[in-house]
């Protein structure tokens, strides 16, 4: 397994908890906000983060996990450094997003919802980013690529091969 900077991330989460909890009261109502922030920091919700949140918010860890499993936005599976999200919304779909998704799958060697073994890429689908005029659209770590054709995918991914984002 590649080294992950998890210790640093835990510190960031602890700092967030310090700054946010006491003002809003240590209770369940801060849970979703905190999980959102933790997932922003870690890219996913690792056990350490969930345990820390459970302890600091005084919400049972089983309950916290219940909430995580309820919302499809939250994930306990590690994500890649580059999160590739292909839009399969109506406009993108009619303009060939399906082909784009298949091309991404074959080039990255993973299926939608999966993360590559080296944790470099993860691939997900989403429904509409509000840029239908640019359909079909794909996001890589939040950066948008529009009017994509299958031949564009290779060059797009090449920008993310040297470890820079």
């Amino acid at each position: 397994m590649p080294q992950s900077p998890q210790g640093e991330d835990c510190k960031k989460l602890a700092a967030f908890l310090d700054s946010s909890i006491d003002s809003s009261g240590r209770n369940e109502s801060a849970l979703i906000k905190t999980l959102y922030e933790a997932q922003r920091i870690f890219g996913y919700l690792p056990k350490e983060a969930v345990f820390l949140i459970s302890e600091r918010l005084n919400v049972a860890v089983s309950k916290v996990y219940g909430v995580i499993s309820f919302y499809s936005f939250f994930t306990t599976k590690p994500k890649g450094r580059y999160q590739v999200k292909v839009c399969l919304g109506t406009a993108c779909f009619v303009r060939g997003a399906e082909k784009i998704a298949r091309e991404l799958e074959s080039r990255l060697g993973i299926k939608l919802g999966e993360t590559s073994l080296d944790r470099k890429f993860s691939l997900e689908s989403l429904r509409c980013v509000g840029a239908c005029g640019l359909a079909p659209v794909t996001l890589v770590n939040g950066k948008g690529y529009g009017r994509l054709e299958v031949k564009d995918i290779g060059p797009m991914l090449e920008q993310y091969t040297d470890g820079k984002s």
Binding site: K47, V50, F51, S54, E55, A60, V61, S62, K63, V64, Y65, G66, S69, F70, T76
Partner: protein, 578 residues
């Protein structure tokens, strides 16, 4: 008070009452499934998830769940209109459409609340066909099995585990059709903070949660002619076993229990009560030693394996607080495989110790690696009261016509102090009877400590022992235990001794007892049964047990002697908090 009409009959109900409460006042039965109100144990499951109790309320478009709809002035309710009956059947059929129809081979057969409900509504056909859940059963725990295919999502186990016990091992996870009750990160139950108290099993309406079945192993053992089989029975078993054979709750069936075990073929029938008396010797001696020599106070009782595992997880910074005494189950096992084996001239390797317990955590405890004697398990097999019922039926024994038998000597003799080990407050009461006499040298005339009895979650008392005022507290239910332990941790606790039992009310309400199906009066009667057993005994102080005296004189030496320490005491381990 609010006046409303149910099925045309007028009824008055308190303002915070539900339609279900008001209907009960009128003796109108509204079927329920998820609802469970154990008021004296402070457990209320009001999830309103099953929708079986739907009723018609005049002026409302939709049907309302009676269990969670508050009464209102002038409300007109119909509990069994054609519309309600149709909807209720539909709801139950939908639940059944995703429930395995394997009742004949289900461990809950004849005890299942869903089965009774289907019978009550005369359901003979299920209109709906659809997808079935397919979860793998979790058999990782040494005490209980989770088969989520049989779960009806009533959430009782969740309420019990999180709100009453504060163990927090279970929660509803996922959503929609994939919703299930599971552990955090879907790890096997054995890897969680579950303490095997079995209270989830006690309230589960179906067989989604059940005990690990040791009946086949017991039959195998009883058929093994090489083995010398020794059985011990916990105090709470005698207070509840009769219920399963149709005897009125609260009738102790000690004599019949002994006769049944003898008929099953055990070589010796003994009593965990003997070991309870022994526990008092060691625990009272340890307590007095801590008092006299400035040791750690308060002392916490350590008889309850669910409680022991709970503090190992939740209060691992306080591992020096509990008594080091093993539980009576294990004091018995170790004495059987040393003292008794020697006395009877039997190779301990050929001896099998079987326990009949009201408890699921005892199954877990028997497998704790440190609880061994000369490389042998102290207790070989644990069966619950419920399993014993099935074994007695298997054997074709007519329980109710059995004569009263007598326990064998020497490990069958006990005082009244041991009987009350099965109820919340009893261990401490028994310890006080002995500590008083040991500390003052005087006879304790009034042996009853009423303040420590009953179902209150936390009880406290201050007892004059000679010049000293001993402050004691008792908690049952792990949520209550947590409160007391937090006061110990913060240093606010001024108690000298604290007794904890994991199950609300004590072992009489253990996770392995016959199902009470929500009727808490049954538990009160079991408590009364053990108090009567105690009152009926000539000897009511543990140290007066003549066989205990000779055990020390012939074998152990002094209380807390080196040998006693080696055999009867143990240590605790730090466990993860989540």
């Amino acid at each position: 008070m609010v006046t409303l009409a149910i099925n045309g009959k007028s009824v008055e109900a308190p303002e915070n009452a539900t339609i279900l409460d008001a209907a009960r006042e009128l003796d109108i039965h509204i079927p329920t499934l998820c609802h469970l109100d154990l008021h004296s144990l402070k457990m209320l499951n009001k999830a309103a998830t099953c929708r079986v109790c739907m009723v018609e309320v005049a002026g409302r478009r939709a049907l309302a769940p009676a269990c969670s709809t508050p009464v209102a002035p002038g409300m007109e309710v119909k509990t069994h209109s054609p519309r309600v009956i149709r909807a209720r059947r539909g709801v139950v059929e939908l639940i059944l459409s995703n429930h395995p129809k394997s009742c004949l081979t289900c461990p809950k057969n004849t005890q299942c609340e869903l089965q009774s409900l289907a019978a009550e509504l005369s359901i003979t056909d299920i209109t709906y066909t659809g997808k079935m859940s397919s979860h793998k059963a979790d058999k990782s725990s040494p005490a209980l099995v989770r088969d989520m295919n049989k779960c009806v999502l009533c959430r009782r186990c969740e309420t019990m585990c999180n709100e009453v016990q504060t163990v927090n091992a279970l929660s509803a996870v996922n959503r929609g059709f994939r919703t299930t009750v599971g552990t955090a990160f879907a790890v096997p139950l054995a890897e969680t903070t579950c303490v095997s108290c079995g209270q989830c099993v006690a309230v589960c309406p179906t067989a989604a949660l059940s005990e690990v079945n040791n009946i086949p192993s017991l039959w195998k053992l009883l058929g093994d002619t090489e083995k010398f089989t020794v059985v011990q029975t916990a105090p709470a078993v005698r207070a509840a076993l009769g219920e399963a054979f149709g005897l009125p709750p609260g009738r102790a069936v000690t004599g019949k229990l002994v006769s049944a075990l003898r008929l099953l073929g055990f070589d010796r029938v003994f009593d965990t009560n003997f070991a309870a008396d022994l526990t008092i010797m060691e625990e009272a001696a340890e307590f007095l030693d801590r008092v006299k020599n400035g040791g750690r106070l308060p002392i916490l009782t350590s008889c309850c394996p669910g409680w022991v595992k709970f503090f190992e997880h939740q209060f691992s910074d306080l591992l020096d607080v509990p008594s080091t005494c093993k539980s009576p189950q294990h004091m018995f096992g170790v004495i059987a495989k040393t003292y008794l084996a020697e006395k009877l001239g039997i190779n301990p390797k050929k001896m099998a110790v079987v326990s009949v317990m009201p408890c699921l955590a005892k199954k877990y405890e028997a497998g704790r690696p440190e609880l061994t004697v000369n490389g042998l398990p102290e207790v070989d097999l644990v069966v619950t009261t419920r399993e014993l019922v099935r074994i007695i039926r298997d054997a074709g024994i007519n329980f109710n016509s059995l004569p009263d038998g007598e326990y064998d000597a020497p490990l069958g003799a006990s005082t009244g102090a041991a009987d009350i080990f099965g109820i919340s407050g009893g261990v401490l009461e028994a310890a006080l009877r002995t500590s008083y006499e040991w500390l003052t040298g005087a006879t304790l005339e009034k042996v009853d400590f009423e303040a420590l009895r009953g179902f209150a979650g936390i009880k406290e008392a201050s007892v004059a022992i000679g010049e000293m005022r001993v402050k004691v507290a008792v908690a049952s239910g792990l949520g209550n235990a947590r409160k007391l332990l937090e006061s110990v941790r913060s240093g606010e606790s001024a108690y000298h001794a604290i007794e904890i039992m994991a199950c609300p009310g004590g072992c009489i309400d253990g996770g392995g007892q016959p199902y009470h199906h929500g009727d808490v009066k049954v538990l009160e009667k079991r408590m009364q049964a053990l108090l009567s057993e105690d009152q009926g005994k000539k000897l009511r102080k543990a140290h007066e047990n003549p066989f205990i005296k000779s055990l020390y004189a012939d074998f152990l030496g002094e209380h807390n002697s080196r040998l006693a320490h080696k055999l009867l005491h143990t240590g605790y381990v730090k466990r993860q908090k989540m």
